[in-house]
Symmetry: C2
Subunit: 222 residues, 2 copies
């Protein structure tokens, strides 16, 4: 009974996510579903990404949190539209929450929407949001063994951002172990090493992202 | 329908957890339900705790993970019984999983069981495991704003272990902000500041824990 209901919930979510995907494609909007543990640096990474894109592209952010609205406020300070979703306890965003947030955005003006999912390496990966790309941030202090422990999110993500590389000297983290773990799960994953605190590695990431958006969007003429 | 079923699942879990609690109390076993984000240092903290207790107390560990059995193996290397639960994707342990693990332990010989929950700041807190005490580990690199973002786990926990304090000089973390956040949620929470990497702060924690066990257990005579 529990399993059956869960399947129904996921099937209903998938159906709605497919509709959202169609909307995003029709409007030429590139959508990132950004997932990570609590404290991996999702919001800092979004702020760095906004700074790297905002001269060329129209960006909006959807912030998912259990509680609080501080993340959306931080984003708005960077001159970008931000919608805060409070899940009221739920451990992930779902397509229905995104549909609600889209009503508050001017989709015709947007090139990219970054969705910050709830901080959680497990549950968000099961719920498609109609996104163009799923991404995971792993921060160096979390350890190089996370793909082994939480495999699904690393299998489903097209991009891995390794954040807080400025801490590599102060913690036990072996890049080779991380790469070995990823090779067994998702050898094609794109890895970007960044430090959001020192804004390092952001240029390479932003350049890759602009290339992806250029391929997908009808708006970006460069 | 979804909410109703969820309530039923939680009610069934609570019922079984109450039975487990009775078993633990009858056997005089102190049980810790240890929760944290991925990579906060749960396993390292358990290993440090084992070293601090094992001359005086009989310890066992139940390791909850989505996948892999490396944590249980690490614990066994310290000469302590360890049962690995793989949740097969589920984002938390539940009372039924603990019941299964208990069948593999010699309860009459034990003073304390440490349960390492799945790395997740959201879902585990809803599922009682019959534990004596709920604890949360927060690691310094995760940031001082986590109580604001993930309030329930900080409300329900009797103990907060602040791990990786050796990184305080390298990240933006304000102890006062953390304490202010906790004051609004759970002013009575016991805070222990530790560095599992350098084994600092463990004595104070172990001393407090032994005091608690002494109060609860009929086995410890000191």
């Amino acid at each position: 009974m529990e399993i059956k209901l869960r399947q129904n919930i996921l099937a209903a979510n998938d159906k709605l996510a497919a509709k959202l995907k169609e909307i995003f494609e029709n409007k030429g909007i590139y959508v990132i579903n950004l997932m990570a543990s609590p404290g991996a640096g999702k919001t800092s990474f979004i702020l760095q990404t906004i700074e790297a894109l905002k001269d060329d592209l129209n960006v909006a952010v959807i912030e998912g949190d259990i509680a609080s609205k501080v993340d959306a406020e931080k984003v708005r300070e960077h001159g970008v539209a931000a919608i805060q979703i409070n899940t009221g306890g739920a451990c992930h965003l779902d397509a229905n929450m995104i549909r609600g947030a889209l009503n508050m955005l001017d989709l015709d003006s947007l090139d990219i929407i970054i969705i910050e999912n709830v901080g959680n390496l497990v549950c968000p990966v099961e719920f498609d949001l109609g996104e163009t790309v799923k991404m995971v941030i792993l921060s160096v202090p979390e350890g190089d063994d996370k793909p082994l422990k939480y495999p699904s999110i690393f299998v489903e993500s097209e991009v891995l951002v390794l954040n807080k590389i400025d801490l590599l000297d102060y913690v036990d983290f072996n890049l080779e172990s991380l790469e070995n773990g990823l090779n067994g799960l998702n050898p094609a994953i794109n890895i970007f090493k960044v430090s959001c605190k020192y804004a390092s590695g952001i240029d390479e990431w932003a350049s890759w992202l602009k290339g992806q958006i250029r391929k997908k969007s009808k708006f970006l003429t460069d």
